[in-house]
Amino acid sequence: MSEELEKTFVSLVDASWKRYEENKRNSWMDDLLVGVVIASNVEAGYALIDLESDGVRHYLRFEKLATKERLIFQLRNLTEDLVGAKVLGRHAHVIMGYGKTTTNPSKIWQIFKDEVKSGMIDSHEPGVITFDADLTAGYVYAQVPLLLELDQYFDVDSQVNQPLIQNHIDATIHSLRKYLDGRLSMVGGV
């Protein structure tokens, strides 16, 4: 009898651990994404120079030390709740930006700002490329928000599909770089 009760207890504890680990895995999904983005960009030759978080949004900044090109990321897990994640899949809101130093960044930033004067534009819309500037450091950035499906990058055991995420970052940064270079050449910023 005592043996049977202990067996039942062990099975209850085993099932609890499984549920607990599943919840845990879901809760660290945004940090897993932060880690993969860091690893991918360092592999691509960028140095991590800033890592900040407000608990919900995570901010990363990288620099290619030889060329001074910079990348900025804002990452937010949209499905922290396990039930939502199971029903909808895991999604993240990611803003990626590519920046470079330019001659006369203040003038260029003013030109770019003047293009978007109306309050009617929703800059949160995914796929819309906007500009930003860090005038103290002399950088102008092109940036784009994307909604990414996390399940394609991580399996249930947190095994990472590094080539896929690397490819997605490379494709986005390449496009931002091309667009920024093109626009800068139009306004005499190169």
Binding site: V13, W28, V34, V42, H58, T130, T136
Partner: protein, 175 residues
């Protein structure tokens, strides 16, 4: 246009970002070894990264970089960029059977309480977990890779200390 550039602290010189650069290199080196980062914590000057070892007896591994010198130009010139790197590894035993639990406390926990130091590794038994930690002092500049050979140097350094704490924990991992 919404800006999030103000979220970044503006280091005046790249010297001030050395801890972050090292953090990035550690995350990359660990990812190559199938240990993805699953948590980041900053407390004061300490930067802790939590890793999930995917093919290991370890449940979690935390690496903390605590920079001691080199924050200012003077300190960098006089002492270099010295930092403490702490490795804290955890094994978790999913033991529920009361007989097994009692046995674990009679042997493992008692042994650890009796002698918590194994060389430079400190062991600590708490509930169903056993932790092993060790701290090493390094010059950050020696571990900021400039090429693939540098990445290997950092990887070897991490592997050596991770192996050390893992082996100290191996006898205490059940199942």
């Amino acid at each position: 246009m919404l800006s999030f550039l103000s979220k970044f602290k503006h280091a005046e010189e790249m010297r001030e970002s050395k801890d972050e650069i090292l953090t990035g290199e550690i995350v990359r080196a660990m990812a190559r070894q199938n240990m993805p980062a699953i948590g980041f914590k900053t407390v004061g000057e300490d930067q802790s990264i939590i890793f999930k070892p995917l093919r290991s007896i370890l449940y979690k591994l935390t690496i903390t970089v605590d920079r001691k010198t080199g924050g200012s130009r003077l300190s960098q010139t006089m002492f270099g960029s010295k930092a403490w790197i702490t490795f804290n590894a955890q094994v978790k035993n999913h033991v529920a059977d009361p007989d097994d639990l009692l046995e674990m406390y009679k042997t493992d926990a008692k042994n650890i309480f009796k002698s918590p130091m194994f060389g430079d590794v400190k062991l600590d038994h708490q509930l169903n977990s056993v932790f092993a930690s060790k701290r090493v002092t390094v010059d950050i500049d020696n571990y900021l890779p400039k090429d693939e050979a540098g990445v290997q140097t950092l990887t070897n350094f991490l592997q050596e200390h991770i192996n050390d704490v893992t082996e100290k924990l191996r006898p205490f991992k059940k199942g």
